[in-house]
Symmetry: D2
């Protein structure tokens, strides 16, 4: 078993910080770095990339809506050409910072409301994923399970890595249950760890509706926003390694 | 004589436009494209790059302060590391858009208050130019004459192209006279054309103080914000070609 | 017949301008001033209010989504409490500028995608209109015909003025046909003027579907973005005055 | 002895928070609320005002540069008319939110780099303070000691309240020592408390240069960004009350 552990880093803005990036970097193999649209700013991006580089953690672009104040969590009715341009811009910005740090960007993922929209609708996934392919066809698209995004990527010749959000409930079609619904976020850490175990051993997620859903997994998404979340991240890593698995960056999966 | 004709393009934002980009593209050899910090947004950038590509015009990043509302014309007291990160971010964003359009970015220049600050103070020019070199040492730095920027570029191994702002007054040290001073901007088009001629034939600028100042010129900066400015741009091009000169993109100067 | 002529003014941002505000002020009785969220900035707002004051034109707040780059034309999925706070903030900002100019703000209207959303859905109209009432129950709500907004205003004890968008097509329920649909915007000026005439004489609009729809009118919305639009604005005013009608500011309608 | 205890509240933005506002509200008599330019957003402002109201704490507008990412700590070279408009806008926004909450705004203060600039230069203090007076001549200007601001306020007929920054070093002219200088911020809590005591008993501050400087005090500025800061805030309040002093909101000082 080879699996990637990743997390969303660099989600501060100006004087504000979010999450324990430094501690998380000791657990991760890959990091999704906010690109200044839903969070992050140039200096935070640079520091996050440098810190990841120093720990051997790969960096990717975490691409969101142009809405810092809303943290990219509010859907914005943007046209396809504008969405595509917004993706290209953010990929370029992070790739540029990685390059200036002597690093290459290996992957990308969609954040928040943009990611949810693309995961659910092919008409949104298509222009977004095509923008990634036009920018760099060697980038990996890291995504939670989504037929729309996986199909678009396959059509464009892009590889995908399916990441598991262990603390989020899934519907039977593999999409995440929206945050506004009750029990969409799982707060009990033992339950979260159980879900990781079940996925690693049986390749299965128990859905919101109570069914067993087979799910491919290349990666697990971790959090570092609380002490409990950090402990959990470490527990997930120990679990994988205890089972003889290897934690590898997303680019080394295949 | 081989000389570049360039202009600042893509200076709209959202629904707002500035200047006659399309018409100017018929006159230029290189364009400096705003990167979303002092003007421009992802879609405007993409359209500007595509339009330039279609006309054989080279594109570079026009890098400014993070101040759309002030159009990058207000100095902001930013620390060196933040300035450097802001430069890298903008270079990456435009390079990414150029790459997605199948184009390479050939040069960069500093806009407005950021450019004036760097031109006047080595302590600002140094981190800015070093950021360019870390991002891509093959980029040309297009700048109005400035000992600070030229020295920094030479030290970093970056080539420079000196661009002449034909409608702006110069001090004896080769720096631009600030806009807030009377007669810093020359509005009479005949006078502007005379200044171009004098520079092309004698390599000389008559300064604000009335002295003849020898000045190296690789490029002339044109405008397209009025019908008169467009006519002038065309007149400058005719002038060069009539004298047997060749208008070439900035990357083909040396 | 007493009717208000109004228009959306102050829709520039930083160095960018939109529309011929100064010329329009000679035709209007009331102006809706952008409040810095979808357009406008503090200095543009102040200048617009001063110019209106000098011409005897009343000012109101034109309240939109927090999305300058998208000009408030993209729906943003914001929660009710945040929408309400965004309305209050903008009302306060314009009221403050009016107050500092020795002027009172008399009315408000919702801009773009925010206005369309509120006009179509009571669950959005309610918190928005309640925010207006909490801020100042004497403000007039200027709106295109909308059962949702009119009902909410009545419940809150707010007066409304129904404004007619002469160059926009209407559905049979009195709502505007969305811009993305063909023939939603009427470009032929003669046709626009004919629609104004029909409304003023018969109180009727011919809908997108071709039916005659009775519509209350207190105000007509004019534009000043082209020479043609300005001529049309003047023609509408002449039409009203020739018919013995009086053009009065929105606050003097009742 | 009647003295005000105030603090800067509502300094979060979108999903980010700063400081322990709720705990501080139990210690304060007045709060300076960020207005969305250097920090704060409409919903944070509304919640901050409501929380203050519930605790009997007066609210004022904390007015800064339009620079969220830089937290208003970077000087921006803005022209006087634009600075004045930016002040008016922010005053109006907070006054509007206070009004919608059934509250009146009693005071204002300048934040960060804007405040430092105004405190040091009459040419900046004048247009800023005049903007306050045009908006509402009954507002109190809360400021650290500054001849420029105090003179401008007196000329405009505005009352001032001098607030003491107990953890900041002062120069002999009563101005704050800039943050970038060593020992400009006093981190030792015992020393901070000693400085408060000396001011309350002797009306004196020991300056950066070691001199005893007499200083008028109407108010003390507290912080709530760390557990230590909160304890210190409570200690200051106890100190005042133990000495028989009364903590009163800024509007009730005179």
């Amino acid at each position: 078993m080879r699996i990637d552990l990743n997390a969303d880093l660099g989600e501060g803005f100006g004087p504000w910080r979010m999450g324990e990036d430094e501690a998380l970097l000791g657990v991760l193999s890959s990091a999704n770095v906010a690109c200044g649209f839903h969070a992050g700013d140039p200096l935070i991006m640079e520091r996050t990339v440098r810190a990841a580089l120093a720990r051997g953690v790969e960096v990717g672009a975490h691409v969101g809506f142009p809405d810092i104040q809303g943290f990219g969590r509010r859907r914005m009715d943007m046209a396809s050409d504008e969405l595509a341009a917004v993706v290209t811009y953010q990929l370029g910005a992070l790739a540029g910072i990685a390059r200036a740090c002597g690093h290459a960007m290996t992957h990308m993922s969609f954040h928040g409301a943009l990611g949810n929209w693309a995961a659910a609708e092919a008409s949104i996934a298509d222009p977004l994923v095509e923008a990634v392919a036009r920018f760099d066809p060697s980038l990996l698209v890291v995504t939670s399970s989504s037929r729309a995004i996986e199909t678009a990527a396959q059509r464009c010749g892009l590889r995908t890595a399916i990441t598991f959000l262990a603390d989020r409930a899934y519907h039977g079609d593999g999409l995440l249950v929206p945050r506004r619904l009750a029990r969409s976020v799982i707060h009990d850490e033992r339950e979260v760890l159980d879900r990781v175990r079940l996925l690693l051993t049986d390749g299965v997620v128990v859905t919101y509706e109570g069914e067993r859903l087979p799910m491919r997994t290349d990666s697990i998404l971790l959090h570092g926003d609380t002490a409990g979340a950090l402990d959990l991240a470490r527990a997930v890593r120990r679990e994988i390694e205890a089972a003889g698995g290897a934690v590898v960056p997303v680019s080394q999966l295949a």
